[in-house]
């Protein structure tokens, strides 16, 4: 990361928020004031509003919302990471296969992508859910990733095609460099920028999608917690249980907004580097 990005306050703040959430996810059991799945007192502590003892209140079966939020960060962020990793991996493989293929195969691969892009992502996910029923978190994350890589594949193919024509790639060939070396030294490093951007934007898309799926009943199953499941539990009475909506939603917004800012700043950074 270069000095220019480090001096950009928006980028630094967003990266710090993301870093803080990763730390929270790792340390959640230590940070959480109560065990996240402990029903504290079913008679007196059900659905109690935020108080000194329970900052974010309690839920319908007297569990501490703050603790569930912190532990839920683990599931949500892990699923996000797995989904983004899956979609980047598939996108890079498919996109570079298309870029390096003969014209007819390239066309076939890209038209397939176009067909896939025609289906809304949620429809794809719901049809998987209909076929396999409720999935455990990690397979669910893989499915999330597997429905979100089409754009990445297009990006990778376009970038590789453009890079192959770049002057410095031709210059390396003119210098007598072998093709694998040109790919390794002059093409792939230039792909890192766009991919970093794609990753952060994919994260911003996946986290709310997980929440949405859980909300619809296909996501994480109780007593495990994710931000989506917290929201889902309060879904029928959001006005009465405002603390169960507000805090997970704020957490969600902070992650998505930070990932978007990081992605956007990275994009601008690599754009400028390209042009200069």
């Amino acid at each position: 990361m270069t000095a220019r990005l480090r001096r950009d306050p928006a980028f630094v703040l967003a990266a710090a928020i993301l870093g803080a959430w990763v730390a929270v996810a790792l340390l959640a059991p230590q940070l959480a004031p109560y065990p996240s799945d402990l029903q504290l007192d079913l008679t007196r502590l059900r659905e109690s509003a935020p108080s000194a003892a329970h900052w974010f209140g309690t839920d319908g079966v007297s569990r501490d919302v703050l603790s569930r939020l912190l532990v839920g960060a683990r599931v949500t962020l892990l699923m996000g990471a797995i989904a983004v990793g899956t979609s980047l991996g598939l996108g890079v493989l498919w996109g570079s296969a298309a870029a390096l293929s003969p014209l007819w195969l390239d066309r076939l691969l890209m038209r397939t992508i176009d067909a896939c892009l025609a289906f809304p992502r949620l429809v794809l996910l719901l049809s998987v859910a209909a076929a396999f029923g409720q999935l455990p978190p990690i397979p669910l994350a893989v499915v999330l990733g597997a429905t979100g890589w089409f754009g990445t594949a297009r990006l990778v193919r376009a970038e590789l095609r453009a890079l192959a024509e770049r002057s410095w790639v031709v210059a390396a060939r003119a210098l007598g460099a072998p093709e694998p070396r040109i790919l390794r030294r002059h093409v792939l490093p230039a792909l890192v920028g766009p991919l970093a951007v794609a990753a952060s934007l994919a994260l911003a898309a996946v986290v709310p999608l997980e929440a949405g799926l859980t909300f619809l009943g296909f996501g994480v199953r109780a007593p495990a917690a994710s931000w989506g499941s917290l929201l889902a539990e309060a879904a029928d009475r959001p006005d009465a249980l405002w603390w169960m909506v507000l805090f997970p939603a704020l957490a969600l917004v902070s992650v998505v907004a930070s990932a978007t800012v990081v992605g956007d700043r990275l994009r601008r950074h690599f754009d400028l580097g390209d042009r200069a």
């Binding site: 410095w168 210059a171 390396a172 460099a177």
Partner: protein
């Protein structure tokens, strides 16, 4: 004395912390032309932009600008737009790529008050015709990318002049054009000065253009006028050091003596080398071919400097890429000594590429933006040098010194270096592997006059010191005069003339060579009309016949392709009328 009709009084431009242009005064009478010259960063373009109120935000303008006795101020936008036309350097960005040429000009006509759409379109076509654009009706219906660079710039000029402004501000209008289109453009401009009394403010770094097309000149350096006067006086006896330096850059140098090589084998010889690019035409893809390089037989001997000249689109750059086999020829042969270059592959091909270095056009962009200059120069050594890596440091530094690249720059990425510095780094990268042949594709195209001069001086020194063989692709005859020992003139993919530089420049045998020489600013000749025909459908017979002005051209020219034949010792030309001694049997 009458009041000058365009006048700038105490115009200055400043940013918050610094003055960019010190107060300047000048005036231009109708039909006259005043040139602003100076090295890059002297403030020439800033003055032009200040007059047009196009300064970037944060810069403030002081002083006043008067046209026809009326002061132009910030509120006089539409009036100014009618009275002052503007034209900028890059013809590719000046026009909207998504609008037809005619519509773009008609838009200006309507902005000028014309209500009738059809009449506006008619005026637009007339404006194109007036600037010598052939088939103006067809051009008006085309998009900018369908036009050649010269046509685009003339279309932009037509748009700037369609409202018959009193003044045209032209900022480096011909820098991106080759010599023949530049001559056509400047001739069109001069005509409008004569017929309409158009006044011109010309911003240029090219003193040859200024000498031929401006009566008065203002020399700027670091935002201040250092010298002014009549162009002829200033250029004949420059007073200020900056002016003298600029003039020295443009002093015509005598062509270099022909190189007399040892009668050894040529270092590169092509036989009937041809490159056609397949072009899909329409649906069901009926393939036609773009004839980029056609039937080129040329040889270069060790130590020669061969200049390949011709207008853009003549196949020069394609030819340059064929030699190191960055492109595969469609037909023909390339030999180096006894080696058949087309048969090479794998490591042998990579060694051939290393020994025949190509410096790409816009070589400043040929540096990987993520690697330092040092890393770029070192790459060739990592690939090819047999010696231990610790000796590479010294060789990288030696290469940097040889091209005049400061060692402090080596640790920087390209983005932190100037165009000239990047160009020199690309040159160092090519030289560090000790090539036998260096091919330079338009080496000075992206440099200002001072940086270009610097680079050419270094190239000449390096070529002498190492007995390097150079192949220089260019449309700039100034470079040819300075460097070349041999010249090959290309037209539409074919070599039309080849011979020793001094002889070709003194007594051109082919009408196209003569046309190129006549197009040099200040030359007495009439600029050649028209544009290079499409290489998709080259003309029949001699490809040059549609533009040929030889009075003795005849049916042979339109029917049969003239071969490149000896016309004198060491000289060849492909013209039916240039070879009086042509034996009948060959014809």
């Amino acid at each position: 004395m009458t009041t000058p009709f365009f006048e700038v009084r105490a115009l200055s431009v400043s940013a918050t912390s610094a003055t960019l242009v010190a107060p300047v005064d000048f005036a231009i009478a109708p039909g006259r032309s005043l040139a602003l010259v100076g090295p890059s960063g002297a403030g020439k373009s800033t003055i032009a932009r200040a007059i047009l109120d196009l300064l970037p935000r944060g810069l403030t303008r002081r002083g006043s600008v008067w046209l026809d006795g009326v002061a132009i101020h910030d509120g006089s936008g539409p009036w100014r737009a009618r009275r002052i036309g503007a034209l900028f350097q890059d013809p590719t960005t000046a026009l909207d790529p998504l609008m037809r040429i005619g519509a773009q000009i008609a838009e200006v006509v309507r902005a000028g008050g014309e209500r009738d759409h059809r009449r506006a379109a008619r005026i637009a076509i007339d404006a194109l015709a007036e600037l010598g654009i052939d088939a103006p009706d067809a051009r008006a219906r085309q998009y900018p990318h369908e036009l050649s660079g010269g046509q685009r710039q003339r279309a932009a000029l037509a748009r700037a002049l369609v409202l018959r402004p009193a003044l045209l501000i032209a900022d480096e209008p011909t820098s991106a054009l080759d010599v023949t289109t530049q001559a056509q453009f400047l001739a069109a401009l001069d005509r409008r000065r004569g017929t309409d009394g158009l006044a011109v403010l010309l911003v240029s770094h090219d003193l040859a253009v200024v000498a031929a097309h401006a009566e008065e000149v203002l020399v700027l350096a670091q935002g201040a006028v250092v010298e002014r006067g009549r162009t002829t006086d200033v250029l004949r006896s420059p007073q200020h050091a900056i002016t003298r330096a600029l003039c020295a850059l443009h002093a015509p140098s005598a062509p270099r003596a022909p190189h007399h090589p040892s009668d050894g084998a040529p270092i590169i010889a092509t036989q009937r080398l041809t490159k056609h690019f397949p072009v899909a035409a329409g649906w069901r893809t009926t393939h036609t071919a773009l004839h980029a390089v056609d039937d080129v037989t040329l040889s270069v001997h060790p130590g020669e400097v061969l200049a390949i000249v011709g207008e853009s689109g003549c196949g020069k750059s394609t030819f340059a890429r064929l030699l190191p086999r960055l492109l595969e020829p469609t037909a023909g042969a390339i030999h180096s000594g006894a080696r058949d270059v087309r048969a090479l592959n794998g490591p042998a091909l990579r060694r051939w590429r290393a020994s025949t270095q190509l410096l790409l056009q816009e070589s400043a962009a040929s540096l990987d933006p993520m690697r330092t200059l040092d890393d770029a120069i070192r790459e060739g050594l990592r690939l090819h040098a047999a010696d231990a890596p610790h000796t590479h440091d010294a060789r990288v530094r030696a290469a940097a010194d040889a091209v005049g690249l400061g060692r402090a720059l080596l640790d920087r990425p390209p983005a932190q270096c100037s165009m000239g510095e990047r160009q020199r780094a690309a040159l160092a990268r090519a030289l560090v592997v000790d090539p036998d042949v260096l091919i330079l594709d338009e080496p000075t195209a992206s440099l200002d006059a001072v940086a270009a001069d610097h680079l050419l001086a270094q190239l000449a020194a390096i070529q002498c010191a190492r007995t390097l063989t150079l192949i220089v692709i260019t449309h700039d005859l100034g470079i040819v005069r300075r460097l070349a020992t041999q010249i090959a003139v290309m037209y539409l993919g074919r070599v039309v003339e080849h011979g020793p530089a001094a002889e070709v420049l003194a007594t051109p045998a082919h009408p196209y060579t003569r046309a190129l020489l006549d197009a040099v600013p200040g030359a007495a000749g009439v600029p050649i009309a028209g544009d290079v025909p499409s290489p998709l459908a080259p003309p029949s017979g001699c490809v040059f016949h549609p533009r040929c002005t030889r009075p003795d051209r005849n049916d042979d020219c339109t029917r049969r392709i003239p071969p490149l034949l000896d016309i004198a010792p060491a000289r060849r030309a492909a013209c039916w009328r240039a070879a009086p001694a042509l034996p009948e049997t060959l014809a």
